[in-house]
Every structure is written in C-alpha cells, then in structure tokens.
Symmetry: C2
Subunit: 183 residues, 2 copies
DNA sequence: TTATTTAGGTAGCTAAACTAGTAAATAACC
DNA sequence: GGTTATTTACTAGTTTAGCTACCTAAATAA
C-alpha cells in the first residue's frame, strides 16, 4: 500500500501511534504537518463521519416510523417531488428511478397500495400505462419529513456568512470530486 | 405544516415559485433574505446532496468490485478496525455491531468464509465462542479501500486554511446536531 | 393491416433477513 | 459442590424484496 495521490497514508496498527485520528482508529500520516494541524484536520474528518451517522439515523427513524423499507420510502419521496413538478409517475418511470425491475415495482406498488400510501389510476393519455398518485395523508407526511430536514439544513447554511458559505461549498465540491475520481 | 424552528418553510408547488432551490424542486422560503443569498444557500444544499450521492456511488463501486453486499462489507470493515485495535471479534459481537440476529450472522460468516474472507477460530478463553479472523488478503484489500477514501478526505481538509477548517467543522457539527434533534 | 414495441402484471426463484428452538459452555446461587 | 440460569453459535423454517421469464393489452411502426 503506497501513496495513491499527494498524501502518503497508512491505516494499520493505529492504536500504537500517538496520533490517533478518529474513533475507528484510522490513521493518516502527513509528515510535513505539525500535530496541531493534524489534530484540526482530524476534527474535520470526525465531523464528516458524525454527520453521516446522524443522517443515517434520521433516515432510519423516519422509515421505521412509517414502517417502510428504503426503496418504498424513496418511491414516496419521488412521488412527492413529481407531484410538486406536476409530473405524472408511471410504474415504469418509478422502476427506472429506483433502478429496479418493473416486476419488482408491481410488488412495491402492491405494498404501498395495501398500506394506503398510493392509488393506481388510469393514465390520462396512454391506456396501457397507469398514473400513480400518492394519497393526501401520505403526501403531507412525507412532505413534512423532507421539508423538516431541508429546513434544518437551510437554517444551518443561513447562519453562515457569505464567505463561510463559499468555503463550505468549495469543501463539499472538492469532497465530491475526490470521491468520484478513480485513479 | 407550520414553522418548526426559526425558519418558516414550505415544500410544495415549488415549480410555480421562481426561487427553486434544488434539482428536486424542494423549496424553503425565507422572506427576510434576498435572492442572491438564497441562491448561495441553495448551492450549499446542492453541495450536500451531491457529496452524499458521490459517497454512495463510491461505496457501491467498492462493494461490487469485491462482490459483497452492504452488510458483508460493513462486517469486513469492522473486522479491520477491530484488528487495528487488537480486539477479538465474535459472531455475537459482530451481530450487535451490524444490528442483525446471531442466526443471520451465522449465514453471513458462512458467506464470508466460503469466499475466503474470514476464518472461524476457537476463542482463546471462551470455549462456546468463536474468534473471527479476517484473512491477510482481504484485510489488505479493505484496509486499502478505506485508507484511500480517508486519504482523499484528509487531502481536501489539508488544503484548507486553519480558519476555513474551523468553519467547516462548525458547519458539520451544526448539521449533525440539527439532524439528531427531534422536536 | 400486420408486425413490433411498450406497459404493466403473474409465476416462480433467490438472497438475506427474521423467529424459534437446540446443545454446549459458562455464570450464579444455595 | 451441585443445580439452575444464562450465554454462544448454530439449524430449521419463514418472510421480505429483489430477480428473470413470460403473458396480455395497447400503442406505434412498417
């Protein structure tokens, strides 16, 4: 395991090294830096991990509250968004969005329909197709959940100064670029 | 749906409003702000979403490369981390970490064992229990993957100035706090 | 008008979770 | 010290949610 970019790294026997950087004992060495700087960078990485974990926890909570699996929840979110856009959702379109087969989508719609979350209606123009409509109650429920999360993020971003926002935007974009680069 | 914090929000009919804030047409109104500020905040939110998506993509890539499902990969990561900490992993401990039953863990270990990723060894002190050890090849492989991701994040954080890092740390921590607060 | 494609559904299969119950080892209690 | 309770991993059988293959009706292309 050698350097893969401009940072040499090592992730092993971390517990033997005084510069432990996160709760899971991963270690990145960067010899040109002093300990204080490494400690600060470590706090960034811990922040990333902590945020990811809290996001997962929130998503799990809302799903288990509505007794839905991940795909079914994703389907409902898609339906809410599509309704906002006045777009018609068909089983085929849903299958494409969720990356599952149309057969699995049939089962998914059976589940959501049985639970009273959606109804299958005739498509206004294509008599082969269906129009999936989310029920009023479920629409309000999902919209509220999504909106709450969104409002919280908005709130956090709103409290930053414009300059701080640019810093955060740059950081997030670099993280995304770094993650998607396969060298 | 009324205000839940200090930001009133609305997530509906977004397409009818000029201040659309993200690709999924969710909308947060904040009447005290001008459009430029809202646009900037929107870029923060888009950055968050984009990063999440790229993280998922990377995780999926590494899993499909090793032909593992999410739980199995999580198990291997846990084994690597535990090895770094010189901690013994038992099937029971693994079940607890993964939030699955011990029966499911037995099957999981069968899969990982058949693929040559782990071996079941006798526990050094408890003759009922097992000690799960990750094979050298798999250990190196997983460690490398995790290390690479980690190194990239480290690299991005390292390129920030100390002041920028504090901004990012504060932002991430506030996001985590906001997500985990259930009011 | 005929042939092909498209949309959604059915049937049956599989992976990976679950619950219930088992044998062996260990811990707790008189 | 011997009996009882608990813990550990496992087996067996069930459930959930995906898949492929195939079907019918409707729309579209030749």
């Amino acid at each position: 395991m050698s350097a893969n970019g401009n940072i040499p790294y090592r992730v092993d026997e971390a517990v033997l090294d005084p510069r432990i950087i996160d709760p899971h004992q991963e270690l990145v060495e960067y010899s040109a830096m002093d300990d204080a700087e490494i400690a600060q960078i470590t706090r960034v990485l811990v922040g990333i991990r902590r945020w990811r974990e809290s996001e997962q926890a929130v998503s799990f909570q809302s799903r288990s509250h509505m007794r839905l699996n991940e795909t079914d929840m994703k389907a409902l979110r898609f339906l809410v968004v599509s309704k906002n856009q006045h777009a018609i959702v068909t089983p085929g379109g849903l299958a494409e969005h969720l990356n599952i087969s149309t057969a699995s989508t049939t089962k998914l719609l059976d589940r959501l329909s049985a639970a009273g979350h959606i109804t299958r209606c005739p498509h206004p123009t294509d008599r082969r197709a269906l129009m999936i409509t989310i029920t009023a109650h479920t629409h309000a429920q999902v919209r509220d959940t999504v909106g709450r999360i969104h409002a919280r993020r908005f709130d956090v971003a709103a409290r930053l100064t414009p300059a701080e926002r640019e810093t955060v935007i740059g950081f997030l974009n670099e993280l995304s670029d770094a993650a998607s680069t396969r060298e």
